[in-house]
Amino acid sequence: MANLKDIQRQIKSVSNTQKTTRAMKLVSTAKLRRAEELAKRSRLYAAKMNQVIAEIAGRIKCNKVGGIDNRCFEKIENPKVVDIIFVTADKGLCGGFNIQTIKATKKLISEYKEKNVKVRLRGIGKKGIEFFKYNEVELFDSVVGLSSKPDKVKSDDFIIASIEDFKDGKIDAVHLVYNGYKNIITQELHVNKVLPVDADQFECEEVQSSILEIEAQDEEHMLESLVNRYVQYNMYYSLIDSVAAEHSARMQAMDTATNNAKEMVKSLNVKFNKARQAAITTELIEIISGVESMK
């Protein structure tokens, strides 16, 4: 039988852990609410952005001979160099949240490696960066601190390098891997190809009767400017989505941890009571046998 004091100490330590995990869960719940709200508001922008870009791109595609003359909308058959951007959290203790993203990234890398395509890996978030550094996978560049506090300006600065390289023809595709928020208990892994933009999704629309004539060149110029913003926005959205997902994952992980600690305290209490009973029984036997021997 374990020592009574030892068990008591163990119970105390486990209930302290439980307190910590519960506090972390509450913090995550509060943060999740805010992050979720932000993501929700931002989705409105995404919907309108898609609508505007689809309309303009569709118009150019269908009305202009030769379609859209922009590298961002071309289909690139045999890519030589591709960018893979992954977004993980800066902190752990959130279940399988980070490892899922890492696994998906690894899979994508090996797929490209098989086809002899050079991969430039760009990382956001400490956990993913640490993982790839530890495994000696070369990172093209990396940012820490952006995934826990998404900032539009910083995220724009980060993605613009990829956009410029893509337009210059240095790279042939840009992929974005992140774990997004689906609902409070599930996260959804996204592996998105942000560049080139798939032009097939744009459909020809009927020309509205009231449309003001605009020079085709103007529209192309507009599309050029829009596609930059579109990709930048996608990057930013993946960051806010990832934050929401991170908090929901952490909330869940901490909830499970709290429950486990509770179970553990329960079983330790049983153990403690048993040990106490055993001690009492031993003492009683000692007394009784002492009395018996005196008879």
Binding site: K48, V52, E55, S210, S225, Y233
Partner: protein, 130 residues
């Protein structure tokens, strides 16, 4: 008077959604006004001030740093990158909005002469409110 529906959205959420009598937008090729039933058009906007005239004749000014306007007969959708609405219930709220607006202007490093006129305009818009 006819009204048009106006939506102004930033990546961080809606900044204006409602009816307006007219709206003046800082287009890339010059300022233009939109009334209800305007013909469809899409155009880029540059840094400047959007003036919204509401039904009660009051004018609300919103400073933007970049945007794209999508106009059709019923609706005007403006997608902007960064925006600050010059509004507030109290003097201090207006002053704070003005400060935010100035910060946003300073972030727009390029287009030199345009900045001066924009900051003058937001100040006069703020003065009207106080």
């Amino acid at each position: 008077m006819d009204k048009l529906k106006l939506e102004i959205l930033t990546p961080n959420g809606e900044i204006f959604n409602g009816d307006a009598v007219s709206v003046t937008l800082p287009g890339e090729e010059g300022e233009f006004g939109v009334l209800a039933h305007h013909a469809s058009l899409s155009t880029l906007l540059e840094a400047g001030v959007i003036d919204i005239e509401k039904e009660d004749k009051s004018v609300e000014s919103i400073l933007i740093n970049w945007g794209v306007a999508h106009v059709n007969e019923e609706k005007v959708i403006v997608l902007v990158e960064g925006a600050v609405a010059i509004r507030g219930d109290s003097e201090s709220a207006v002053a704070k909005a003005l400060e935010d607006a100035k910060k946003l202007i300073n972030d727009i490093a390029d287009s030199g002469p345009a900045i001066a006129s924009v900051s003058a305009r937001i100040e006069s818009a703020a003065r009207k409110l106080i």
